[in-house]
Symmetry: C2
């Protein structure tokens, strides 16, 4: 790119303001027992936060019913639904646990922690022990240690979870749209070897 072209490109930049960031995130179901009953919340604000022990953090609006259950039991789950569960997952995002009993929407199982409900139909379930809660204004951040990863033989390739078999789907929050995951296209820490800056 020439200097003139670059200046033009910077000039083309528009500041659309301080907004929720526009990118797609995998959809998850966060599970917690609330008042002794399994409840599941749809979320897409989550990430891993440490390697060893592996940790996962979910950012949940303080208005959610699930939050009190996580604090009560100090456990939660992160369940990854596949694209064929889009309707039932979205349903959990439409109705609140405050108003509707959601324990019957999915088949539920428990792991070693006994109080972190997991969705049997989800190809991947992370069972987590709460490490800390961070108050972040509109949201609470729940950071947990991943103790177990439950899956099924049919989702594995060479002993590891195969995303192509899991078929997670993604949420573009601003657009209020679900996206399918596309095809794998290149090796990470690989394709860049051919790049010459």
């Amino acid at each position: 790119m020439s200097n003139a072209e670059m200046k033009k490109e910077v000039k083309n930049k528009i500041d659309v303001g301080a907004k929720i960031a526009p990118y797609p995130m995998p959809v998850i179901l966060v599970g917690a027992n609330v008042k002794g009953k399994a409840n599941f919340l749809v979320a897409a604000w989550f990430m891993e936060t440490a390697i060893s022990p592996p940790k996962v953090m979910v950012a949940l609006n303080k208005l959610h019913y699930t939050n009190q259950g996580i604090k009560e039991n100090k456990t939660f789950s992160v369940c990854i639904p596949s694209e064929d569960m889009m309707k039932s997952t979205d349903y959990c995002g439409i109705v609140s646990g405050f108003k509707v009993e959601k324990s019957g929407v999915f088949n539920v199982f428990y792991g070693k922690l006994k109080t972190a409900p997991m969705v049997t139909e989800c190809p991947v379930n992370l069972e987590c022990r709460l490490d800390k809660v961070i108050d972040n204004g509109s949201h609470e951040l729940f950071d947990g240690d991943i103790l177990s990863t439950y899956t099924e033989e049919k989702y594995l390739t060479d002993g590891a979870v195969d995303i192509k078999k899991v078929k997670p789907f993604l949420l573009s929050l601003n657009e209020r749209l679900y996206y399918k995951l596309g095809e794998p296209t290149a090796k990470a820490w690989g394709v860049g070897k051919k790049y010459k800056p």
Copy 2:
């Protein structure tokens, strides 16, 4: 699902252990000035953490060069590359800023904060002011207020950023694979209305 079928399905669950969670995350470039020079790190552990003001958090291994720059200037950027930038983005993940000067890999621009470098070629750039750093063992969590979102007219549809035009790509960390984003398939807070539990 009958009770017998459900029991069978739970029985099929395998615990593959405490591992990095298997799901794909959008790839980003985190920008920071280190010792006065723009540096960019490839990351995929990030999420939004609050609505108003909107915040974004990135989890960066403590070994990274970029971390010191964020702490030094109290600013950083989150830049979303499109799939046609896969090679140059991956290159930034292969070489470390400790060893290789990366300021020339991309064209760089600065916004109102003056110290958060952003990649001109990226369709979306979030300019962030550091709010807090959380020590999380292997990783540091940098939580920042999104002050501006830079994009270009060509990425907008009806005034909003259109993910289909941005074409972000995703990293499946365990598989060390990049995935394309697929097609939008259903309305969020919509498709679930047809669901009857």
